[in-house]
């Protein structure tokens, strides 16, 4: 058993004004602060990179420190996204697109990166990208749900009307989370299998 620490006790109660009675229950209280004593911390080992599901209400981290733009290669069939390191950008022009990665969270407290396209080099901005970005911005203050509307060619955006509590964001910094999310999805050399596949070398 976990034995509470023993203390030397003086069995006789002290006269008034002297040291307190060691048997006074107020002096015997053991802490119930399990959060401090348990010393258990939930580890974040997976951060998916995906769009919010059409049923999910999500929030986006409002701090600018928790979003950034990245050159990204999408493998559409595998639904995978790879970050291209800065040094390779000149060599891979045309292979990647630029996306903003927003840190987002749903009502089940699942954290994920929400990739949203930036305009193409020619300035072209599809309604899909525009509405996704609008939704992400709205989600910085509100719980938001996005659903693709194929007829419209854009996302429908739904804002929760009821009062829902703000999410609890992780302690980790943006770059720590990026490392977790892209640890196996980082293209650092030109002979990366993804590049070889795109060039028909695989």
């Amino acid at each position: 058993m976990t034995k509470p620490s023993l203390q030397t006790v003086n069995p006789a109660p002290s006269p008034a004004g002297a040291t307190p009675d060691p048997f006074d229950p107020a002096n015997l209280r053991l802490s119930q602060s399990f959060v401090e004593t348990a010393g258990v911390k939930k580890l974040l080992t997976t951060v998916p990179v995906r769009k919010p599901s059409p049923q999910d209400f999500v929030r986006v981290h409002p701090s600018p420190d928790y979003r950034d733009n990245f050159p990204i290669i999408e493998l559409k069939d595998e639904r995978e996204e790879y970050i291209v390191t800065a040094g390779l950008v000149p060599e891979l022009n045309g292979e990647f697109v630029t996306k903003t990665l927003f840190l987002a969270i749903n009502r089940q407290n699942t954290l994920f990166f929400w990739p949203v396209r930036l305009p193409a080099p020619d300035g072209k901005m599809l309604d899909w990208w525009r509405t996704a970005r609008e939704a992400a911005e709205l989600a910085m203050e509100n719980w938001v749900r996005v659903k693709a509307n194929m007829n419209l060619g854009a996302y429908d955006i739904y804002k929760a009307q009821s009062t829902m509590s703000d999410p609890e964001w992780p302690e980790q910094g943006f770059w720590d989370l990026i490392k977790i999310a892209f640890r196996d999805h980082l293209i650092t050399t030109i002979d990366h299998p993804v590049i070889k596949r795109l060039r028909g070398q695989a």
Binding site: M1, T8, P13, L28, R29, L30, S33, F34, T37, V40
Partner: protein, 581 residues
């Protein structure tokens, strides 16, 4: 560890214990361990004070001390000031989170013999001698055993205590052990007082119970239509539930769950179920002759302090008036010139969770006086100006959610309880997690602590030990239940030491008795003791109390049992039964 005590006295009494009566001491044997002095005093030589030294520098050691202290009460001896109960400490040391593990850990039970065996101490001499024990307990020893034989028998237990004490001592957290010992004096005081009972009605009931059962079934069942003769028909119950829109838990096979615990839980959520629950439990379990009532018209039985896993009392369901059949509580009636008051902590479990977890939202909700309404408001489901009246049904959902969380209920269970789709239950539970995040973090950490360290403990060190068969839901609930027990024990100590006649502890309440002229003062003292206890246990957080007062000749009544009580008493006054009586 005991150096600071001038004297250490191991003590055991033999006493007559007739059902419902106070103990009648036959003899006492005590050993003063420092000097080696031995005291063997038989009934006719017992005086007005103990034969050994008393005071704050004398340690009184016993095994299940409330029995010895009951004899102190009967003799009018002043209570010892420092009590070390080795039974209680054995329970602290071996208390397991599941029955299977409890049986494995203490295969010989938690009695003196079980403790000796557990610690590998020679139990020769302490082996129960059933015949002499039985004769003493039933006051039938005269002519069969001499005083010397009885004293010798008594001394075998003291010898055993002498061997047990040094072995257990290194395991004992003395300061807190003495607080537990102090409670044994309070338990003895409550057992001494007992609960006042309307004995003439009880006698009438005992005589007529068999004769009224058929009529009772007919009378109660007229609103349900589920009995066939004396047989409860599950399919008819199902029809009743369907027609009244009452959701009901099922077993793994899909059949309706029909155990008493389910009925009891469901009766809380659906009061219309209560009379059927009372009827079923009374027909199957009620043993009126077992209800322990003394010549002084007081119900009194051993409270079995520290017997439950959470450290709470576990008195016999059949002997104690606050057993499962709540309608029987109508038998509680203050004596002439007196009142009984039922003083209970408001939302005790919720308050403990709020205080110990440090969750400010939960604390605010508790302090609002209506945590269910407040929770609904905090979650945004009830507007700030909503009331219990304007948002009755929403409040009810949030209430069931709060209660469900306390029992570790998950979405499926809550959905059944509230009669809503699982998604509604899931949203309610999520709202609880969102609103009371600090509580959940603390609750998760409590479970982690249990699994990492192998035990959980209350503020005064009552431990539950964890193994692979421990139930995580029970472990989560332990800080509330266990510390609720600490609250009760400390309040019982403070109240009884201040002269309140505490008749019984009742889960999160006390029943006290007082003459008319002391009513206000005693209730105020009782409430102050409960407030003080909560502030000590909960780091300054004060739990509120509610009071219900019953004046003679009225009787106490639990509203869950009202229909059944009225039906039974109506039948008791049938002319044919009155003649029999």
């Amino acid at each position: 560890m005991l150096d600071a005590f001038r004297e250490v006295v191991t003590v055991d009494f033999e006493f007559t214990a007739i059902t419902g009566e106070r103990p009648i001491p036959i003899c006492v044997v005590a050993h003063e361990l420092r000097s080696g002095r031995r005291f063997r005093i038989f009934q006719d030589q017992l005086e007005t004070t103990p034969p050994y030294a008393t005071g704050p520098d004398v340690l009184f050691v016993a095994f299940y001390a409330s029995a010895e202290l009951g004899c102190y009460r009967a003799l009018g001896w002043p209570m010892p000031e420092r009590i070390l109960d080795l039974f209680t400490e054995f329970r602290v040391h071996t208390n397991m989170g599941s029955k299977i593990d409890q049986d494995r850990r203490t295969p010989n039970g938690a009695g003196l013999l079980g403790a000796l065996t557990y610690f590998g101490i020679d139990s020769m001499g302490a082996t129960e001698k059933k015949e002499i024990r039985k004769a003493i307990g039933a006051s039938a020893w005269h002519g069969h055993y001499t005083p010397k034989e009885i004293l010798d028998y008594c001394e075998t237990d003291v010898d055993a205590l002498d061997r047990l004490l040094p072995v257990m001592l290194p395991q004992i957290d003395l300061a807190r052990a003495l607080l537990r010992g102090r409670y044994m004096a309070a338990a003895a005081a409550m057992e001494h007082a007992g609960v006042p009972i309307d004995v003439p009605t009880l006698e009438l009931l005992r005589m007529s119970w068999t004769n009224i059962q058929d009529d009772l079934i007919t009378a109660i069942d007229k609103d349900y239509g589920v009995f066939d003769g004396r047989t409860f028909k599950a399919d008819r119950w199902k029809q009743y539930l369907l027609s009244h829109g009452i959701p009901w838990p099922t077993t793994e096979t899909g059949a309706l769950s029909l155990d008493d615990s389910t009925f009891r839980q469901m009766a809380k959520a659906y009061p219309e179920v209560s009379p059927m629950r009372e009827l079923r439990s009374s027909l199957s379990e009620l043993r009126l002759n077992d209800l322990a009532v003394g010549q002084d018209h007081r119900n009194r039985t051993i409270l079995s302090a520290f017997r439950s896993r959470t450290g709470r009392n576990q008195p016999s369901n059949t002997k104690f008036i606050f057993g499962p059949s709540v309608w029987l509580r109508g038998l509680i009636q203050p004596p002439p010139g007196c009142v009984v008051a039922y003083v209970d902590w408001s939302q005790q479990e919720f308050g403990i969770a709020a205080a110990l977890s440090g969750d400010l939202a939960m604390q605010a909700s508790y302090r609002s006086g209506d945590p269910y309404l407040a929770f609904g408001k905090q979650a945004g489901a009830i507007p700030p100006d909503g009331t219990k009246k304007t948002h009755k049904s929403v409040r009810e959902l949030f209430k069931q959610c709060v209660l469900g969380v306390q029992y570790g209920m998950e979405a499926e269970g809550l959905a059944k309880k509230i009669g809503q789709p699982v998604i509604v239950a899931r949203d309610l539970l999520r709202a609880h997690r969102d609103t009371y995040r600090a509580f959940w973090k603390w609750s998760d950490a409590a479970l982690d602590t249990a699994m990492l360290t192998g035990s959980l403990y209350t503020v005064f060190g009552w431990h539950v030990h964890v193994s692979e068969t421990s139930n995580p839901r029970s472990l989560r609930n332990f800080p509330m239940q266990g510390n609720g027990g600490e609250l009760m024990r400390l309040a019982a100590c403070l109240a009884t030491e201040r002269g309140i006649e505490v008749c019984a502890p009742v889960h999160d309440a006390f029943l006290i008795c007082a003459p008319f002229d002391r009513l206000d003062a005693d209730i105020a003292t009782m409430r102050a003791a409960m407030a003080e206890a909560s502030k000590i246990v909960l780091r300054g957080f004060e739990l509120g109390t509610d009071v219900s007062i019953v004046r003679y000749p009225n009787r106490y009544m639990d509203e869950r049992g009202l229909t059944m009580w009225n039906t039974v008493t109506g039948l008791l006054h049938r002319p044919d039964l009155r003649q029999v009586a």
